[in-house]
């Protein structure tokens, strides 16, 4: 072997070593990036772990049957009752009111923006909706308690200072942007040729929108409504501020009532010792809330897949 060849080999092996180093740092970086992506999975694991482990301790004291069937919710009293239906009723009534506002308004805005409005209107309307969706919920709570409730009291003089109605109405306004923008996306995805076919038959814009575009986009619309529902069910501060926080098994929106979320806030505002039954109660309530929203989300994804029209 000549000396020349040896130095060649050195050069090659240096480059190979450099390459291996490069390879190693590439792999290290990939591992780090993967770890960052895995944080989101860890978050879910953490949520499930915390809620389930505290709830298991809770259900060792309170039977699940009582939890689901009792008609009283007084976890912090001496005579403690744990009937989650009381909180669920408040949650469902306020969400119902919100959806009665948000679904019609959101759908009308979506149809208007996707089928009628020209580019200029859309350029103004979209940021307005985004700003509306960006308002902090605590500010909406203030709006419900100090502006909407007094206005409603002029119409219904018997309305109490705290009510599910005013909280629900404001919650509906809050959800409109979500429903409107998701529904609009769904309707814009409907191919132009279908509209053109309808216009060619002499249909008006509104007729085309209602009889051609909406049916074609129905899976997207349904998914947006369900996202709206799960938003409403999980909304906290508007209810904590404007709906009162006393547990009340009622289906009447004119009454004040606590919801699952506002109960958690109420307990967290107090000073409950870590590990007490009162402390575990909020995790059982949180688990119920998570299961309800999860059910809606799964239903939404199923609907979207089941009724998706592919073009």
């Amino acid at each position: 072997m000549s000396a020349n060849n040896v130095s060649d080999l050195h050069q090659v092996s240096d480059r190979l070593a450099h390459n291996a180093m490069r390879h190693f740092s590439e792999r290290l970086i990939e591992a780090l990036l993967f770890a960052a992506a895995a944080v989101s999975v860890l978050t879910t694991v953490g949520i499930v772990y915390v809620l389930v482990s505290e709830s298991i301790q809770f259900f060792q004291v309170v039977s699940i049957v009582d939890f689901l069937t009792d008609t009283q919710w007084t976890p912090l009293f001496d005579d403690a009752h744990y009937g989650i239906m009381v909180l669920i009723s408040g949650t469902l009534v306020s969400s119902g009111v919100a959806l009665l506002v948000a679904i019609p308004m959101g759908t009308i805005i979506a149809i208007y923006l996707s089928e009628f409005a020209n580019g200029k209107v859309r350029e103004v309307a979209k940021p307005v909706l985004e700003l509306l969706g960006g308002i902090p919920t605590i500010v909406f709570g203030y709006f419900a308690l100090l502006i909407v409730t007094p206005l409603l009291q002029k119409v219904f003089p018997e309305l109490p200072g705290f009510s599910l109605l005013s909280a629900g109405l404001v919650m509906g306004i809050m959800i409109v942007p979500y429903i409107a923008s998701l529904s609009e996306d769904a309707m814009r995805a409907v191919p132009m040729s279908m509209r053109e076919g309808s216009y060619a038959m002499g249909a008006t814009k509104l007729y085309t929108a209602i009889h051609v575009v909406v049916p074609a986009a129905v899976s997207g619309l349904a998914a947006s409504y369900i996202l709206g529902i799960s938003r409403a069910v999980g909304e906290t501060m508007i209810l904590a501020v404007a709906a009162g926080m006393q547990p009340n098994l009622t289906w009447n929106p004119m009454e004040p009532a606590a919801t699952i979320t506002s109960f958690i806030v109420q307990v967290a505002l107090g000073d409950l010792p870590h590990g007490s039954i009162g402390y575990q109660t909020i995790f059982a309530a949180g688990l119920t809330l998570l299961l309800i929203t999860l059910a809606f989300n799964i239903a939404g994804q199923w609907l979207r897949r089941r009724y998706r029209e592919a073009y």
Binding site: R22, E26, E30, L32, L33, F34, A36, A37, V39, S40, V41, T43, T44, I47, Y49, V50, E54, M105, I108, I109, I111, Y112, L113, A125, V128, L129, E130, L131, L132, G134, I135, P136, T137, I138, V139, G141, Y142, L145, L146, I147, I173, V176, T204, K205, V233, G234, T236, M237, V241, T261, I264, V265, A268, L269, F283, G286, L289, L290, T293, N297
Partner: protein, 311 residues
């Protein structure tokens, strides 16, 4: 069916056009309601809180006397919590986004991460509060500190940062990557010198929208048990705190108790004395100013991005 006369056809067309016009008006009215709500909210808070919106309001602590209360501890707390949130959420979210777009192989691990991120975005914010109460506050022993709150909100906005990072990266055409790799760059070098810089405006928009959401979040922070009455500031680095004269370390402030703007507003709204409503209005106006200006910056950035980028 009887053949229609010309008059009848004209009447039919007129009816169709009338319906179209009515629906358009309805759409504009629904949009106007959204605009009206924003206008009503801002003007009501401004008019109610105008007397309190002076310099003193920003440099005074909360007090039992409404007229002397200020938001010093609240706005300082908000800025510090947002700092921790950004510090945690931006690197994690951007790294996760890069991993999913540039590195991830199509397999079940990637699928789980993606489904997981979609579902996390729909989890109610109060559930993040419960997660943080169980993990950060008690298991990790961070207590009711700025660190716990910042990390909670970071997890909450992580899906927003990840999704906007991915969208920004996806908009970069494949030829950029091919060109970079053709001259011998590794995958990470391609990301570091091409993908990240080009995706920056989009990432920035997502981060601002995420932080604007975090700044108004109240429920998770109440859930971790943050105090509502704080009449002191977190220790400044290297200044003497308390009577013992010991100097505070550089990071002592992260473990300090705190309050933030939304909690201060909630506290003032839930007091029976109407004098505090004025404070709530003024603080709400300040918070709205923060959130709306952040959103406006994000909308403007995106608008400019759409205009400028042409591959």
């Amino acid at each position: 069916m009887q053949p229609m006369t010309t008059e009848q056809i004209r009447a039919l067309i007129a009816r169709g056009k009338l319906k179209d016009t009515i629906f358009q008006a309805l759409g504009i009215i629904c949009l106007a309601v959204g605009l009206l709500v924003i206008f009503l909210l801002v003007s009501d808070m401004l008019m109610r809180g105008l007397d309190r919106l002076n310099l003193d309001f920003f440099v005074e602590f909360a007090s039992r006397r409404a007229a002397q209360s200020g938001i010093l501890s609240a706005w300082v707390g908000t800025i510090l919590v947002m700092f921790v949130t950004a510090l945690a959420a931006v690197p994690l979210g951007v790294a996760a986004g890069i991993y999913l777009e540039e590195y991830a192989k199509r397999n079940w691990v990637t699928d789980i991460i993606e489904i997981n991120i979609t579902n996390l975005a729909a989890v109610p914010s109060i559930v993040y509060g419960l997660l943080s109460l169980g993990i950060f506050v008690y298991a990790f022993g961070f207590g009711q500190s700025i660190l716990s709150a910042g990390l909670t909100l970071a997890l909450l906005i992580l899906p927003i940062v990840i999704v906007s990072t991915r969208e920004a990266i996806r908009a970069i055409p494949a030829m950029i990557r091919e060109g970079s790799m053709a001259v011998g760059a590794t995958r990470w070098q391609t990301c570091r010198y091409h993908i990240i810089p080009y995706a920056m405006p989009g990432i920035l928009t997502g981060v601002i929208i995420g932080l604007a959401r975090a700044i108004g979040e109240t429920a998770p922070i109440i859930t971790i048990g943050a105090l509502t009455f704080i009449a002191f500031l977190p220790p400044m680095p290297f200044t003497a705190t308390g009577a013992d004269g010991v100097s505070a370390g550089l990071f002592d402030w992260v473990m300090s108790p705190f309050t933030v703007m939304p909690i201060q507003i909630f506290n003032w709204t839930s007091r029976p004395d109407p004098a505090f409503e004025v404070n709530a209005a003024a603080a709400g106006f300040v918070l709205m100013g923060m959130v709306l200006s952040m959103n406006a910056i994000a909308i403007y950035l995106r608008y400019r991005m759409r205009k400028n980028i042409k591959w």
